[in-house]
Symmetry: C2
């Protein structure tokens, strides 16, 4: 940030009065420009086929970051949305899959990138999905074929690992984890 | 937002190519300025006194919005923090109370104000706290004396109501709720 979004003059990084952190403050109109973490919301779409086999829907990323790696459908929460509405929208945008019955599952802090990721368990009643501008491949995976080493993000790894480990008996109790570089490497492949 | 924070030229509200929402886009350098929801993090500080009575710590707001109303300690998550770190910091900043053993309890979507509020249950081992620049009064309340009609925010109301209703047997399972104008009025006073 270099210029004030309210008046167009230069901003400086300084600690405002009564604060204890550096903020971008306008030298002219004195507006303080706070910068805060973003929320990423996504789903773990589960489809159970006619033989009773559980399958999870993953998308191969067609955009950066992590182009070519596999992910659960997820993206930035938009203004005016609830977390579940955002997760549903992202799932449609990335896979054209219509999931139902979203249940809060994991809240993951990624302090290093200023993000909170929220994943919902979700039911995919019909095995209906397609590639999209954001995904070059969309595919249902039996758990034993999940490409663990080709997953795009540590939060996807954590949420999916926990889900597969708990399936089918649960209890699927919502929980929060902190994601660090270390924690990703410690995940059991 | 009126000016580009990267180059200082005017921004226009329009739908960028490949997007489906209006964003502020710079007419000169073409930077897209996304605006996304913020996270608010806080605690439900519980102190159990020598007689075994449970008490919850509330702060009377000395700043706007909702000056003069009672709140659980909470505030905006900062970059570089986990949710629990932020909730701990806000509790200290608003009440000087040092809580321990934070446990995820409620995730509350407030789509109307573009916010997600995350509340943790927390243990307050010592009844030690003071007023602060943000709080004109800080006080431990027996549950039957909680000023329900003088609470500052619907999210505080929801988290505290759920906690008191579940106390002491739990199960205190983390859960998500959507907060609407309607849902606040429906809360049982």
């Amino acid at each position: 940030m270099k210029f004030c979004s309210e008046c167009g003059e230069s901003v400086q990084l300084r600690i405002p009065e009564g604060d204890n952190r550096e903020r971008f403050v306008c030298g002219a109109c004195q507006t303080i420009h706070y910068q805060n973490p973003n929320a990423v919301v996504g789903t773990i779409p589960l489809h159970v086929d006619e033989s009773g086999q559980p399958l999870v829907l993953l998308a191969k990323r067609g955009i950066e970051p992590r182009h070519g790696y596999w992910t659960l459908p997820a993206g930035f929460l938009e203004n005016g949305e609830t977390s579940a509405e955002g997760a549903l929208r992202e799932t449609i945008e990335e896979t054209c899959a219509k999931v139902e019955n979203l249940q809060l599952y994991r809240v993951l802090n990624v302090a290093r990138t200023n993000q909170i990721h929220i994943f919902f368990r979700a039911h995919l009643p019909e095995p209906s999905f397609t590639t999209t501008p954001e995904s070059t491949e969309v595919k249902l995976f039996p758990f034993e074929q999940i490409p663990w080493r080709q997953l795009a993000f540590p939060t996807v790894h954590q949420a999916l690992r926990d889900f597969v480990d708990e399936y089918p008996d649960g209890p699927f109790t919502p929980a929060m984890h902190d994601i660090t570089r270390q924690s990703w490497h410690e995940l059991d492949y």
